[in-house]
Each structure stands twice: as structure tokens, then as C-alpha cells.
């Protein structure tokens, strides 16, 4: 059953700035939805509207079939984890976790049981009598999650909850959040600008661009079939190589001298895309085109090669290639590459939509 429905939701701030023109999204029970996008695209705005911290200026928000547009955050049955945790500094961990229950009039015994359950799940038993000031960043993060979990809400909301942790802890917490969410099966809306986090956590991803949902789908759908050039560049790291070209009866003309044969009905200006990991090294006989190597990044398990396409155009076209294992081509040398047809992505040059 659908748990959370956003119908034509929009937000115009009092100063007249339209942060979100219109978004439609319906979320199944227990689904993990991640909102990604560059800074300022309206992720937090959308999340805060669901939370009830920001007024909804257009459309309807339904939680379990009830319209909650005008309900106070506390009456929406949601729980939120903030970027800076927002723990009450003068309360112990236990009091922090209990506070929401206390305000709802839950009995002392029941509160105690719930806190103990959640504390056990998150490994917070030892820390219950401490204050937030006496905890490490990772522990605070856990307490913030615990505070959300004791309430047993219908929807969890996370606003970049891991961005204040160091890289290692972030990976660890990411895995943990995913496991907990599976176990609790609570519908979750999660905001991040980290696309690795987005890909690994999400059942479905919503890519936002300037307040518009560019594409909604599973991580693999977005990776395999990005609907727009924006999604193509945003999902995947390093991002997809995108080159301007013309579709003609001969195929895709990338420049006066370089054309890739292909049969397609479309005629006109396009963008041709291929991911760095799909380019393959080859020799001069079989290669589709060649690259002048400009920089090499060795990461051990893989090597990133940055170069420009040798296509005779005045405007140099930068290309990134991702090869597995160690490679050490000389800077300035020529490298031949093949681009397998099944990995091509074609976009309309004007509308930026996938062809």
C-alpha cells in the first residue's frame, strides 16, 4: 500500500523564490527513497515540507491516505534526523530519546522499555546516562537515530545525516542505516548530495535539479538509462563522457573527421554519452577513436586516464577512461579506444532528453 504520496507539491518561499515548481511522487510502504541533487536544488526544502517544518504552498501531501498539509509536525507521525543531530544538550541520552514519547503521554514503564529496546539495537546501553557533550560524533549520530526510532513513526526523514562524520564512519553508518531500515521496514525519505550514498541506500532515487524531479527510479535504472543529460552526469563517478555530435545517415558525426557508424531514425544535433568504465583499450586497427593522454590517476585497483579526443576539432573534447588494474601510459601518448554500441547513450542536444 502506498504510504506517502506527494501530489503536485510545490514551494514558493515568502520572498517569491520558487524553490520547487511541482513534484509528484508516491512511496510504497517500507520503501527507502533517496533524494539527491546538487546543492541548492531543493532537497531540504522538500524534506522539510514532508516534516511539516515548512509550509506547503501548492499540492497535497498524504500520509497513509490522510491529507496532512495543515498538520503540525508532531501530529504527522514522522521522525526526523538532522544533519547536526539537534540533540538537547542539557538532557541525558535517555531523556533525549524519551522526550517525544513523554510529550505524547506514554507511560513511564513503556517509555523505559522502548528506550531499552532501541538502545540495545544501536549499542547505546552504556551511554544512556551521558549528555550529548560527552559523546563522539558517531555516537551522537546514533542517539539522533535512536530518538527517531523510539517513536516508531510511519516515516523516517533524514537530512544529510552522515555529512559530519569522517569517511570511514560514514561507510559504516551507511551500512547500518540500511540494515536497520530493512529490519524496521519503515518508509524512509533520505536526503544526500553524495551519490555513492544515494546509490547504495536507495530502493528508488529521486534526482532533483532546480526543484524539479529529473528522474525517479531504481539506482540501476538511473545508471543504465538516465533520462536526461543531468542525470547522466550526476549518477556515476567519474561522470559520463558527453560529446556534442550530429546524427546523420552515416551515424554520429562527432567532428568533421570523426564519425561513429550507427543506424538511428533521429536526425539533428545530439549529445553522445559513454561512461568511463565502458571504454576499452584497443589497438589502431580495431579502435573507434584515439585519445591524447593528459593525466593519469592510479588508484591501485583501477586507473583513471584523462585525455582529449583526437578528432581534429578546434574545441578539445575531454574524455575520461576508467581501466581496471594498473596502467601507466606516457603523458602525451596516443591511446586507442573502443566504445561498445550497447553502452552508448544518446540525448537530444536541445531538450537534453534521452533519445
Amino acid at each position: 500500500m502506498t504510504d506517502l504520496v506527494l501530489e503536485n507539491i510545490g514551494k514558493t518561499y515568502p520572498n517569491g523564490y520558487q524553490a520547487i515548481p511541482s513534484i509528484d511522487l508516491s512511496i510504497e510502504e517500507g520503501e527507502f527513497i533517496v533524494l539527491v541533487g546538487p546543492s541548492g536544488c531543493g532537497k531540504s526544502t522538500l524534506l522539510r515540507m514532508v516534516a511539516g517544518l515548512e509550509t506547503i504552498t501548492q499540492g497535497d501531501l498524504l500520509i497513509k491516505g490522510n491529507r496532512v498539509n495543515d498538520k503540525e509536525p508532531a501530529d504527522r507521525d514522522i521522525a526526523m534526523v538532522f544533519q547536526n543531530y539537534a540533540l538537547y544538550p542539557h538532557m541525558t541520552v535517555r531523556a533525549n530519546m524519551e522526550y517525544g514519547l513523554k510529550n505524547r503521554g506514554v507511560s513511564k514503564q513503556e517509555r523505559h522499555n522502548k528506550v531499552m529496546d532501541v538502545a540495545a539495537m544501536l549499542g547505546l546501553d552504556e551511554l544512556l546516562e551521558r549528555r550529548p557533550g560527552q559523546l563522539s560524533g558517531g555516537q551522537r549520530q546514533r542517539v539522533a537515530m535512536g530518538r527517531a526510532m523510539v517513536r516508531d513513526p510511519k516515516v523516517f526523514l533524514f537530512d544529510e545525516p552522515l555529512s559530519n562524520l569522517d569517511a570511514k564512519l560514514r561507510v559504516q553508518m551507511r551500512v547500518e542505516i540500511r540494515q536497520l531500515q530493512r529490519k524496521l521496514a519503515t518508509t524512509t525519505l533520505y536526503v544526500t548530495h553524495d551519490q555513492v550514498e544515494a546509490m547504495t541506500l536507495a530502493d528508488r532515487l529521486v534526482v532533483l535539479n532546480k526543484g524539479k524531479a529529473e528522474q525517479i527510479g531504481t539506482p540501476m535504472e538511473l545508471y543504465d538509462k538516465p533520462a536526461t543529460t543531468f542525470v547522466a552526469e550526476f549518477i556515476g563517478s567519474p561522470s559520463m563522457n558527453l560529446l556534442d555530435g550530429m546524427l546523420t545517415e552515416r551515424g554520429i558525426a562527432l567532428s568533421d573527421r570523426l564519425a561513429l557508424p550507427m543506424a538511428h531514425d533521429y536526425r539533428g544535433a545530439i549529445k553522445w554519452g559513454i561512461r568511463p568504465e565502458h571504454l576499452q583499450q584497443s589497438d589502431a586497427v580495431n579502435g573507434d577513436f584515439s585519445l591524447q593522454v593528459q593525466a593519469v590517476e592510479s588508484l591501485g585497483a583501477e586507473t583513471l586516464i584523462h585525455g582529449v579526443l583526437e578528432d581534429g576539432a578546434e574545441q578539445p573534447n575531454p574524455i575520461v577512461v576508467r581501466l581496471s588494474g594498473p596502467h601507466l601510459p606516457d603523458i602525451g601518448s596516443r591511446m586507442w579506444l573502443t566504445a561498445p554500441l550497447q553502452h552508448w547513450h544518446l540525448f537530444d542536444a536541445i531538450t537534453q532528453q534521452r533519445l
Binding site: 516534516a51 511539516g52 517544518l53 503540525e72 509536525p73 508532531a74 514522522i78 521522525a79 526526523m80 538532522f82 544533519q83 547536526n84 543531530y85 539537534a86 540533540l87 538537547y88 544538550p89 542539557h90 538532557m91 522526550y99 517525544g100 510529550n103 505524547r104 557533550g133 530518538r147
Partner: protein
């Protein structure tokens, strides 16, 4: 700055010793004077060592009468002062914390204007508005009463401003977390805001208590009945004897008694006070 130059050390210690001496000498004179027999100041020299009348003097002043023109014992004046000082302090804190709460956390029309009006009253201390205030208090029939002593002094722009700054430094996320946790305005105030501004309240308490305790002009003007006299203003009236000698030994006892409560408050709340000024956690 850690330097180890002998003459520098000597010099800084010298300054400190001179400072301590300057501050302590009058207190010493008062302490010694409070143990002298009647009339020992009138010989023209100031006694520098204890006399033998200490216990009698203190007992007389505290429980019998303050002497000179004052026929009531000093414990009564102490009580009056305490009521006034505590009344002013608590009143100031209560009013300013509530108004700061309204100004920072609620959106209502003319919010900014109201804040600036409060702020501008900083330019109007008691002395400036004393005549109209007297008129109001007189019309309300509050001359010679505790409420008359306290009420006109409890509005405080300074405290409102301090609480406003303190509240504005509370992160917005915290306020939002409380909203999601179902804390309404009243709960938020008592459960979150009040405990979080604990140290600020303590610092203000110290400052305002001393301010209230040292009030001189206002009590002098509105009290004519000596059951409402405060300690600080009475010292002056003990010095204005129409004829005969000033009873310096009694004056000294009263002076010392007037100094004790502020000292007690400062010493007792020192830790919180300093914390409130430097504002550690948050």
C-alpha cells in the same frame, strides 16, 4: 605570556598588593570601628585595632535599634532590602526572559518595532523617569509598600537583550527537533529554553541582585514609613543626626551588614556566573 624577569614579578606583585590594600582598608576600618565603644571616633583619630564592644554593638544594632533617628532594628531593614532585591531580580528575569522568548520565537506584527522600543528604554534609567514614575506609584496607592519598591524597577532592556542574544544562538534545528517531538510553546519554554539558559540566568541574577540591593534613590523617595526602609538608604539617615554625635560604631555595623548579602551571592554563584558570561556549552 610567560616571562620570568624578577623586577617584573616584583612590580606586578606590588601593584596587586597596593590594589588589595586600597580595597581592603575601608573594610578593615569598618570592621574595627564596629567593635569600638560609643564616641571613640569623635576623638579625632580613626581606631585601627579592635575594641571590646563588638558583641554588644552587633547585638544592639541587629535586634534593638539601628540608632540615631532609626528606631527599628537592622534585621528588619535587612529583610526589607532582601525582599526588594530579590523581588527586583526575579521580576527582571521573569519579565525579560518571557519578552525575549516572544521576540525571538514568535512572528507577530511589529515585532521589530517592539524590540527597538524595548531597546531604546535603555536610555531611560530610573533617575530620568523618576518624577512620572513617582506620580504613577502614588496614584496607584503604592507608596510605602513592597510592590511600590519593586515594580517600577523590574522592566529591564539589558536583560531582555541578553536573553535575546542567548536565544538567537540556539540552533534552529534544535527548535525544529522539539517541534517534531511534540513540544508546544509552553513545554519548549520550560523543558528546553529554561534549562539551556541556566547559566545566563545565574549571571543575570548576580548582576541584578547587586543592582537591586544597591538601590538608593528610589526607596528614599517613595518610603516615608520606616517599616519599609531599606538598609542601604538607612545608612545615610543614620549619618544625618540633627544634634549630638553620630554613632559611628553602629553605622559601621550596619555598613558591614549591608555588604554581606551581595558578597554571599557573588561567592555562592561564582562558578555559574563565570560560565554564564563565557557561555561554555551549546
Amino acid at each position: 605570556m610567560i616571562e620570568n624577569r624578577p623586577w617584573l614579578r616584583f612590580f606586578s606583585h606590588l601593584i596587586l598588593v597596593v590594589g588589595v590594600f586600597l580595597v581592603a582598608l575601608p573594610v578593615w576600618v569598618a570592621l574595627v570601628g564596629s567593635t569600638q565603644p560609643e564616641g571613640s571616633f569623635n576623638s579625632g583619630s580613626i581606631p585601627m585595632w579592635f575594641g571590646d564592644q563588638g558583641v554588644q554593638n552587633w547585638a544592639h544594632v541587629l535586634f534593638a535599634e539601628a540608632g540615631s533617628t532609626l528606631q527599628i532594628p537592622v534585621w528588619h531593614l535587612l529583610l526589607n532590602s532582601l525582599v526588594m532585591a530579590l523581588g527586583i531580580t526575579l521580576g527582571k528575569i521573569a519579565i525579560s526572559i518571557v519578552s525575549a522568548y516572544a521576540i525571538v520565537f514568535f512572528r507577530f506584527p511589529f515585532r521589530g518595532v517592539i524590540f527597538w522600543i524595548i531597546f531604546i528604554t535603555l536610555m531611560l534609567p530610573v533617575e530620568v523617569r523618576i518624577v512620572p514614575t513617582y506620580q504613577v506609584i502614588a496614584n496607584l496607592d503604592m507608596l510605602n509598600s513592597y510592590s511600590g519598591l519593586i515594580l517600577p524597577l523590574i522592566a529591564s532592556a539589558t536583560a531582555t537583550f541578553l536573553f535575546r542574544q542567548c536565544f538567537m544562538s540556539i540552533p534552529g534545528e534544535l527548535v525544529e527537533a522539539a517541534r517534531i517531538d511534540g513540544a508546544g510553546p509552553i513545554r519548549f519554554f520550560f523543558d528546553i529554553l529554561l534549562p539551556m539558559s541556566r547559566t545566563n540566568i545565574a549571571a543575570l541574577f548576580v548582576i541584578m541582585f547587586i543592582y537591586g540591593w544597591n538601590q538608593y534613590l528610589w526607596p528614599l523617595i517613595i518610603t516615608t514609613d520606616d517599616t519599609y526602609y531599606t538598609l542601604v538608604m538607612s545608612i545615610k539617615s543614620m549619618l544625618s543626626v540633627p544634634d549630638g554625635d553620630i554613632q559611628w560604631n553602629y553605622v559601621m555595623v550596619t555598613t558591614l551588614l549591608a555588604m554581606l548579602p551581595p558578597v554571599a551571592v557573588v561567592v555562592g554563584m561564582q562558578k555559574l556566573f563565570v560560565k554564564g558570561l563565557v557561555d561554555a556549552e551549546k
